[in-house]
C-alpha cells in the first residue's frame, strides 16, 4: 500500500504539541472532548498506532481509490465488537483479538485486509496502564499483519455502564478479481478442511475466568489468517466457501453452510483435530469442543479434486500445520449436518440452542 500517502511523519509531528497522560485511571474527562481527551488520543492511540493517515488527525481517513482498484475489484467491509472478559487471557488479549478477528472476517472473503478503525468505550476507573497494554497489543498485531488502524473514536462512560473496555472495529479490504467465495457456493462432493485443533480459544477463556478452578496450559489460538488464505487461493482460486469458526464453533459454521447452500454435510469425528487438554476440559464440564469458539481457525470448502492440494498447501503454512480434511458435502438431507462418531455411528450435529453451559448431568 506504499506510494499514495506522503510518508511525512516527522513534519506532522513537529506541527503539534505531544500530549501526555499522567493520570493513573480513566475519568469522564478523558471522553469529554477537551484537552484530557486530546492527550489520551495522542499519548496512547496515535503514538502506538503510528501511521501517516492517523497522524493527520482528521475526523475521517481518506484513501486514493485508483490505488485500491489496482488490487482488486470489490471492497470487503466488516464490523465487530469485542467485549471479552477477562481482558487478558492465556495466549492473547482483547486488543490482539480485535485486530485479528477483524482481519479474519475480511480474509475469509478472499480480501486483502488493509485498514481498520478502532473505537473504544472505556469504563470510568479503568487503569490507564491497562489501556496502554491493550492498545500496544493492537499495534503489535496490526503491524505483524500489515494493516493500519487509520481512524477511531473514544468514549468514556460512568462506572458500571460498560465492563472495563469495549472495542468496536471496522475493517476494509480489497478482493482480487476472479475470487468469489460464498457460503452459497457449496456443492455436493466438496470437501471440508480445517487448519488445526479446535476449541482452544473457548477453553482458554473458560479457564481464564477462574470460576471453575481448572488449570491447564491451553492458549487462545488467536492469530491472523489472511496469509494462509492467500496461499490457499494461490493454488485453488475456486475455493467455494470459507468462514472463521468463532462463536458457536465448527458446528455453527457447518450448519450455516448447510442451510445457505441447501446441502447436507457429513463430517467424521476421528478426523477432527482437538488437543488433549481441550478434550479433558470438555469431559470434565460436559461440553462439546465442536461448539467452542476459535480465533485462529477457518473452515474451508473446496471442490473435491482440489482437496489434497489445498490440504498440503495449508499444512506447509505456519498457521495450518495440523490441517485436516474432516468431511464432505452431500446433496441431502438438506440443511443438516451429520457427524460420524468415533464409535462409527451417525448422529445430527445440531445448531447450538443457547450458550453452552457446564453441566454435571
Amino acid at each position: 500500500m506504499s506510494g499514495f500517502v506522503t510518508n511525512n511523519l516527522e513534519n506532522s509531528a513537529q506541527l503539534r504539541t505531544k500530549g501526555v497522560v499522567r493520570d493513573t485511571h480513566i475519568t469522564l474527562a478523558h471522553g469529554s472532548g477537551g484537552k484530557a481527551m486530546g492527550d489520551l488520543i495522542e499519548d496512547i492511540f496515535v503514538q502506538h498506532f503510528d501511521n501517516p493517515i492517523l497522524a493527520q488527525l482528521e475526523d475521517q481517513a481518506t484513501f486514493d481509490l485508483t490505488h485500491l482498484l489496482q488490487q482488486g475489484d470489490r471492497l470487503a467491509f466488516t464490523t465487530d465488537s469485542y467485549v471479552v472478559d477477562p481482558l487478558f487471557f492465556p495466549g492473547s488479549d482483547i486488543g490482539e483479538l480485535a485486530i485479528n478477528g477483524t482481519i479474519n472476517d475480511l480474509a475469509v472473503s478472499g480480501a486483502k485486509p488493509l485498514y481498520l478503525t478502532c473505537s473504544v468505550i472505556l469504563e470510568e476507573g479503568l487503569l490507564v496502564e491497562t489501556l496502554r497494554r491493550v492498545v500496544n497489543s493492537m499495534q503489535t498485531a496490526a503491524k505483524k499483519a500489515g494493516v493500519q488502524i487509520v481512524t477511531g473514536d473514544t468514549k468514556v462512560v460512568h462506572r458500571g455502564a460498560v465492563d472495563k473496555l469495549f472495542i468496536n472495529t471496522t475493517g476494509i479490504g480489497i478482493i482480487p478479481r476472479g475470487i468469489h467465495i460464498s457460503s452459497r457456493n457449496i456443492q455436493p462432493g466438496d470437501r471440508i478442511i480445517v487448519n488445526g485443533e479446535l476449541g482452544d480459544h473457548g477453553a482458554a477463556i473458560l479457564i481464564a475466568r477462574g470460576e471453575l478452578a481448572l488449570e491447564t496450559n491451553i492458549l487462545s489460538d488467536c492469530q491472523p489468517l489472511h496469509d494462509l488464505v492467500r496461499t490457499i487461493l494461490a493454488v485453488c482460486p475456486q475455493v467455494h466457501a470459507m468462514r472463521d469458526a468463532t462463536r458457536g464453533g465448527l458446528a455453527t459454521v457447518l450448519n450455516e453452510f448447510a442451510i445457505a447452500s441447501a446441502v447436507g454435510i457429513r463430517i467424521e469425528e476421528q478426523y477432527i483435530p482437538v488437543k488433549e487438554a481441550v478434550t479433558g476440559i470438555c469431559e470434565i464440564l460436559g461440553l462439546d469442543p465442536l461448539y467452542l469458539a476459535n480465533e485462529g481457525k477457518i473452515v474451508v470448502v473446496v471442490p473435491s479434486e482440489s482437496a489434497d492440494l489445498v490440504l498440503s498447501t495449508m499444512r506447509s503454512h505456519p498457521t495450518g500445520k495440523s490441517s485436516a480434511i474432516i468431511g464432505e458435502v452431500t446433496d441431502s438431507p438438506s440443511g443438516i449436518v451429520l457427524l460420524k462418531t468415533a464409535f462409527g455411528t451417525e448422529r445430527i450435529l445440531d445448531m447450538l440452542a443457547g450458550e453452552q453451559l457446564p453441566r454435571i448431568c
Partner: protein
C-alpha cells in the same frame, strides 16, 4: 485419556454386537430395556447406540435425570431465593434454563440476580468465604452420586464455622423412583440398565428387590459405549437363561457395598423427606433428601422465604408416559413444536439428558433419511 478411550474403542464393539444380535435371535421377541440414568440416555444418543442394536431391542429412556424431574414449584423457589439482594446464588450449569412457572435462572440473572455457575459445591463454599457480608446459597441437586459431595461440603462448612453458607436441597433417590416405576401397572419392561455412578455410592445390594420382588434383571453399567453394549449383552444373557439377577458391569468403580465413607457423610447430613414431587411422575414417598436439624444453619429453606407452591405439570405434557416408556418423544403432540430445547414445556425436554431433548438434538432425522447414507457403523 486413560480409562476413557479404551472403553470407546469401536473395534471392540463388533464382537459384542454380534453376540447381542445372536442372543436377540435366540430370544426371538421384542424387548424393552430401560436405562434409568440420564447420563446413559445422553451417551446412548451421543454415540448412536440404539442404531447399532437389532430392531427388536427397544431402549426406553427412564426418569434418571435429577434436573428434569425437579418440579416447577421448586424452580420458582430457587429463583425467589436468588432474587434476594443479599444472596449470591450458586448452581450447577444444568439448572439455568430449566423453566419455572414464569421464568428461569438465566433470565433472573439477566434481570440482576447474582447467580453464578459453579463446577463443585466446594467452589460455592469458597465464594462464601470470599464474600463474608453476602449470603451464599448452593442449589443442591442430583441423585446419590452428588449427595455425598454436598454433604461433605456442609460438614466442611460446619468445621470451619462458616455462617454465610447454606444449601437449597433438592437431592432425590434412585431406589424409591425405581420402585414407583415398577409399581405402575402399565409398565412393560424386560430389564434395566442400572446407574453406574449412583451405584458407586450405594453399591449393588439396594437393587436386589428389583430381581427378587419384580422379576426384572438389572445390570449396573458404566457410561462409555462399550460399557453400555456389554451391559445390554449381559441383560440379554440373563433373559435368554431365564435369570433375574443384579449384575455389575462397572466393576472397575462399583463395589457391592458401595462407598461407606460417602454413605456415612450423606446419612450424617441428610434425612429422607416424607415425600418429594417428581415432574412427570408425581409424588413419590421417601424419595427426596432434606438437611437434618443438626445442620439447620446450612438449610436455605429455613434461612429464606420463598413461595413454596406446588405447580402442576402442563396439561399437554406427556413426560410421565415417556418416562415410563409408554410413548416415544415424537408421539407427544407438542414435541418439536411448542416443546423444544429452547422452549421446554416438560421434564423430558429441559435438560440435555431428557429423552425428548436428546432425541431432538441428536436423532430427529427419520431412519429412512439416514439409511440413504449407509450409516450402519
Amino acid at each position: 485419556m486413560k480409562y476413557v478411550d479404551e472403553f470407546r474403542a469401536p473395534e471392540k464393539a463388533t464382537a459384542v454386537l454380534q453376540e447381542i444380535k445372536q442372543l436377540s435371535q435366540e430370544i426371538d421377541r421384542h424387548l424393552k430395556i430401560m436405562e434409568v440414568c440420564g447420563g446413559h440416555t445422553h451417551a446412548i444418543f451421543k454415540y448412536g447406540i440404539e442404531e447399532l442394536l437389532p430392531e427388536q431391542i427397544e431402549l426406553i429412556h427412564g426418569p434418571g435425570c435429577p434436573v428434569c424431574i425437579m418440579p416447577k414449584g421448586r424452580l420458582d423457589d430457587a429463583i425467589a431465593i436468588a432474587q434476594n439482594p443479599q444472596v449470591i446464588f450458586t448452581t450447577f450449569g444444568d439448572t439455568m434454563r430449566v423453566p419455572g412457572s414464569h421464568t428461569n435462572l438465566l433470565q433472573a440473572k439477566a434481570q440482576g440476580a447474582d447467580i453464578r455457575i459453579v463446577y463443585s459445591p466446594l467452589d460455592s463454599l469458597q465464594i462464601a468465604k470470599e464474600n463474608p457480608t453476602q449470603e451464599v446459597v448452593f442449589f443442591g441437586l442430583g441423585f446419590e452420586t452428588t449427595a455425598p459431595s454436598t454433604a461433605l461440603t456442609i460438614l466442611q462448612a460446619a468445621a470451619e464455622n462458616i455462617t454465610n453458607f447454606s444449601m437449597f436441597c433438592n437431592h432425590v433417590l434412585v431406589i424409591p423412583a425405581l420402585r414407583a416405576l415398577l409399581d405402575q401397572d402399565d409398565l412393560m419392561l424386560n430389564g434395566f440398565i442400572g446407574p453406574g455412578h449412583v451405584s458407586m455410592v450405594i453399591g449393588t445390594d439396594p437393587y436386589e428387590f428389583i430381581s427378587q420382588q419384580y422379576d426384572q434383571p438389572i445390570v449396573i453399567s458404566g457410561f462409555a459405549p462399550l460399557d453400555i453394549l456389554q451391559s445390554i449383552w449381559m441383560l440379554l444373557k440373563q433373559i435368554k437363561e431365564n435369570r433375574c439377577q443384579v449384575e455389575n458391569q462397572y466393576s472397575r468403580l462399583v463395589a457391592k457395598t458401595g462407598n461407606p465413607i460417602a454413605l456415612k457423610a450423606m446419612n450424617q447430613v441428610f434425612d429422607v423427606c416424607e415425600t418429594f414431587a417428581w415432574r412427570g411422575l408425581g409424588e413419590i414417598p421417601a424419595s427426596g433428601l432434606k438437611i437434618r436439624t443438626e445442620y439447620a444453619q446450612f438449610d436455605a429453606e429455613l434461612k429464606f422465604s420463598f413461595p413454596g407452591f406446588r405447580v402442576a405439570d402442563h396439561k399437554a405434557c406427556k413426560c410421565g408416559e415417556i418416562l415410563k416408556g409408554m410413548l416415544k418423544p415424537w408421539e407427544c403432540k407438542v414435541f418439536g413444536t411448542a416443546c423444544t430445547p429452547e422452549t421446554p414445556i416438560g421434564a423430558c425436554m429441559v435438560s440435555s439428558e431428557g429423552a425428548c431433548a436428546a432425541y431432538y438434538k441428536y436423532g430427529r432425522l427419520s431412519k429412512a433419511e439416514k439409511s440413504k447414507f449407509g450409516n450402519k457403523g
